[in-house]
């Protein structure tokens, strides 16, 4: 009962000790405004911001002049889509291609852009959550200005064939935006190799602070500014920089880079232990997402005949934090649009639980989680009026 196992690292992560230490200097010591270049305090802030920018640029194989800090992944997604749309609408380009399993930051932005005459094609995914490259090619029109596909999905962890999509975008001279929020730190991102024109990132998914992110914008990309005002970020994103947050973001990326291989190895092994443990110990489960093309830290199952929120509440009582694709946990009427897009029926989708690991998780944590889940699912199934697929269909 006293064990605490935080398994919702796709929602957000604990800020790492090293990150906090680095940030601590930028509250009441180096607190200058980076725009104030004529005194020491301001220059110190500016230097710190530029150092973080360099770290991130190098990690992506980008130029530092191509990295722009934002308030998070959501703003980066908004900027990419609205910025490209508003810069291209009067050029006779009004079409965006994306997928059905994007984050709401993409989907709701596309929806909003309808009112400005933007049309969006939402690509299907297969049962693993993979987009179909042939469907993508067919969706391209002369009016297409942007393809926006997430690198890895936040719910089911499926990793898309980004390099191939990048090639298709390039061949068709269409800008390519990648929501890299979940991929950063878990997948090798190389904006050159993968032909990415725009890449969204967020610090709080990789041990950095909340409320800071970045957009990579390839030099020469036709894109409007999103936030207008002062000359910060070389005139492209106005607003006094969240220096302490930027410093934390930079440090988090530095750590990710340093520990990349060991992280992947460690977490992948734990992930597979958890997947196998659940499959072995709990009947009637369905693994969501791709068995191998998936994020190193993502485990997502549907547990038939039970509902996700109840599972989460019982997990919380046992010290385990996780998330669910059930509608009950989102306040919306429908379960996860991602799970539905992979072909799950509503009833089953409601019973999905996502565990997302990090490097602090131990084998004991994993085994405890398996044991606890086994008990919880048994308990809830014993209370459920649905005992098998027949019941599900008839009810």
């Amino acid at each position: 009962m006293s064990r605490k196992v935080y398994l919702d690292n796709a929602a957000t992560t604990r800020v790492k000790k090293e990150v906090i230490e680095e940030m601590n200097n930028y509250f009441d010591k180096f607190y200058g405004n980076p725009s104030s270049q004529l005194y020491e305090l301001g220059r110190k802030s500016k230097e710190a911001v530029e150092k973080a920018r360099r770290t991130i640029a190098e990690f992506l194989n980008a130029d530092e002049k191509e990295i722009y800090f934002t308030a998070g992944g959501t703003e980066a997604d908004n900027w990419a889509l609205k910025g490209v749309a508003f810069a291209n609408l009067n050029k006779g380009k009004n079409h965006i291609i994306t997928s059905k399993i994007e984050h709401h930051a993409i989907l709701n932005t596309c929806k909003y852009l309808e009112k400005f005459g933007v049309e969006t094609t939402y690509l299907d995914v297969d049962k693993y959550g993979l987009v179909d490259l042939e469907q993508l090619k067919k969706a391209i029109k002369p009016e297409t200005m942007l393809i926006s596909i997430m690198f890895a999905n936040n719910e089911i962890g499926t990793i898309q064939p980004i390099e191939e999509i990048g090639k298709i975008a390039k061949e068709n001279k269409i800008l390519f935006h990648v929501d890299g929020v979940q991929a950063l730190g878990s997948v090798k991102i190389d904006v050159q190799k993968q032909n990415i024109d725009l890449l969204s990132m967020s610090a709080h998914k990789i041990g950095g602070p909340k409320g800071i992110g970045a957009l990579y914008i390839r030099k020469g990309t036709r894109i409007d500014n999103f936030v207008h005002g002062g000359g910060q970020e070389r005139g492209r994103r106005a607003g006094t920089e969240g220096v302490q947050n930027i410093v934390g973001f930079g440090k988090a990326v530095e750590i990710v880079k340093r520990d990349f291989d060991s992280y992947l190895e460690r977490v992948t092994a734990l992930r597979d232990r958890l997947i196998e443990g659940i499959q072995k110990n709990i009947p009637h489960v369905i693994l969501n997402g791709h068995p191998t093309k998936r994020l190193a830290n993502n485990v997502n199952f549907s547990y038939k005949y039970v509902e996700g929120e109840s599972i989460l509440l019982l997990l919380d009582m046992e010290g385990i934090s996780a998330s669910s694709g059930s509608a009950c946990t989102s306040g919306s009427l429908d379960p996860s649009h991602v799970l539905l897009a992979t072909g799950l029926d509503h009833g089953t989708a409601h019973g999905s639980i996502r565990f997302t690991l990090n490097e602090e998780i131990t084998e004991e944590d994993i085994d405890y989680t398996i044991e606890t889940m086994k008990k919880i699912i048994e308990k809830l199934r014993s209370m459920s009026p649905i005992k098998n697929d027949e019941d599900l269909k008839n009810s």
Partner: protein
């Protein structure tokens, strides 16, 4: 987000299970919406001698079912039929706005089971004259 009473009834639900050869059985909700409640009644001389429930659903659905069974257990069918979702919410010390529909479902499940009993026994229960068991059409709340 939930009151202590909700958490208590969720953690230790009262009257879980089924009743063989129940005198009345009602099931409402559907998996599409994420909530199904099934209520079993044992009735003797118009008194609900025993009641059990099975629920597929979120924490407040389970708590609402549990509370509803507590509220009608030992009561006459005529009293039970007057149990409203408000009574369930009150007894639970409140529900978050997005969860109010769970209490509605609990009320309907009880009514549905009573209706089943009335149908089987050809009884008339005041307050159920206009009751129609949910049609198949799905409308999540």
């Amino acid at each position: 987000m939930y009151t202590e009473a909700v958490m208590d009834h969720f953690r230790n639900p009262r009257n879980v299970g089924s009743i063989e050869n129940a005198d009345g059985v009602g099931q409402v909700g559907n998996p599409k919406c994420g909530d199904i409640m099934k209520i079993y009644l044992k009735i003797k001389d118009d008194i609900i001698e025993d009641v059990k429930f099975e629920t597929f659903g979120c924490g407040s659905a389970i708590a609402s079912s549990s509370m509803a069974t507590e509220l009608i257990k030992g009561k006459s069918i005529h009293e039970a039929v007057t149990m409203t979702n408000k009574a369930v919410i009150e007894a639970l010390g409140g529900l978050p706005p997005v969860k109010v529909h769970c209490s509605v479902l609990a009320e309907q499940a009880v009514k549905s089971a009573l209706y089943d009993y009335a149908q089987k026994t050809n009884k008339v229960i005041k307050g159920l004259e206009n009751y129609k068991p949910e049609d198949d059409e799905v409308h999540c709340h």
